[in-house]
């Protein structure tokens, strides 16, 4: 059981009481759930935190009712969206999304879904590529910080990022990546 396990495998292990499997599921989807709340529905931090914790708490409690273990991702996303709508309603009495707002939210949620697909593809790359792309794009670290952390000359960071981005594109587009570790 590890980061390479499928959602279905992790869900099955959770049901069997494997706490490590639950941790892996939380780590896999934490940024997605967070982004739905903060970017999709523009919740402020305290409300976003409540949604975040409630989404995972409900998922944990209701794992037994999940019909298809591999459908954990859409199931969790749906629960998170419902909790976000409830949170908006509590904040704004009588909250109803108008057509434009609904359209904006839907587009943003689609974008986040696509972003998660990219992140899953990232997980299939070598650990070197994963780390450098994650540090640069997700954690917004500078070339200098990355260079120091990974003990690489700062001058080689840009070319490594570019090479790893290329591999990620190949992975996303279903091509066979030629893995030439440097």
């Amino acid at each position: 059981m590890g980061a390479e396990s499928t959602d279905g495998e992790l869900v099955a292990s959770c049901r069997a009481g494997d706490e490590r499997a639950w941790t892996l599921l939380v780590e896999r989807y934490s940024s997605y759930v967070y982004a739905i709340a903060v970017q999709g529905f523009r919740l402020q931090e305290p409300d976003a935190e409540d949604v975040f914790q409630d989404a995972f708490a409900r998922a944990f409690e209701r794992l037994g009712s999940l019909r298809d273990d591999e459908a954990f991702r859409p199931w969790l996303a749906q629960m998170t969206r419902r909790l976000c709508v409830d949170s908006c309603r509590r904040r704004r009495d009588g909250y109803e999304e108008d057509g434009d707002e609904q359209g904006d939210t839907s587009r943003e949620l689609e974008r986040l879904d696509e972003a998660l697909t990219v992140r899953e593809a990232l997980g299939r790359l070598s650990s070197d590529c994963r780390e450098i792309l994650d540090r640069f794009f997700s954690r917004d670290e500078s070339y200098r910080t990355i260079g120091e952390a990974l003990q690489l000359p700062a001058g080689t960071i840009a070319s490594r990022i570019s090479r790893c981005l290329g591999r990620l594109r190949e992975e996303l587009e279903g091509r066979k990546a030629v893995v030439l570790e440097s």
Partner: protein, 85 residues
């Protein structure tokens, strides 16, 4: 099945779209199995021990801390619900 093509700019933008959630939130969510087990234990104790139950009703947070349990907001809210306080 159509093949989606991604420019490097698009991939970069999508990588940036999912920043990490606050570490404390992730840690709390990851601890859910242990937290739930602890809450079950507190509810069981409250059913079995009248003094402990009385102390919980009097002052939930203080009673929890005195018994060596964590009394953060989410645990307190959940316990109030479970114990119908």
């Amino acid at each position: 099945m159509p093949i989606t093509t991604y420019s490097e700019e698009r991939v970069a933008e999508l990588l940036r779209a999912l920043p990490p959630a606050p570490a404390a939130w992730v840690a709390a969510a990851a601890e859910l199995p242990r937290t739930r087990a602890e809450l079950d234990q507190i509810v069981e104790l409250a059913s079995a021990d009248a003094d402990f139950r009385r102390a919980l009703i009097e002052n939930l947070e203080t009673a929890l801390r005195s018994a060596g349990f964590t009394a953060d907001r989410r645990r307190v809210v959940e316990l109030r619900r479970r114990l119908a306080l």
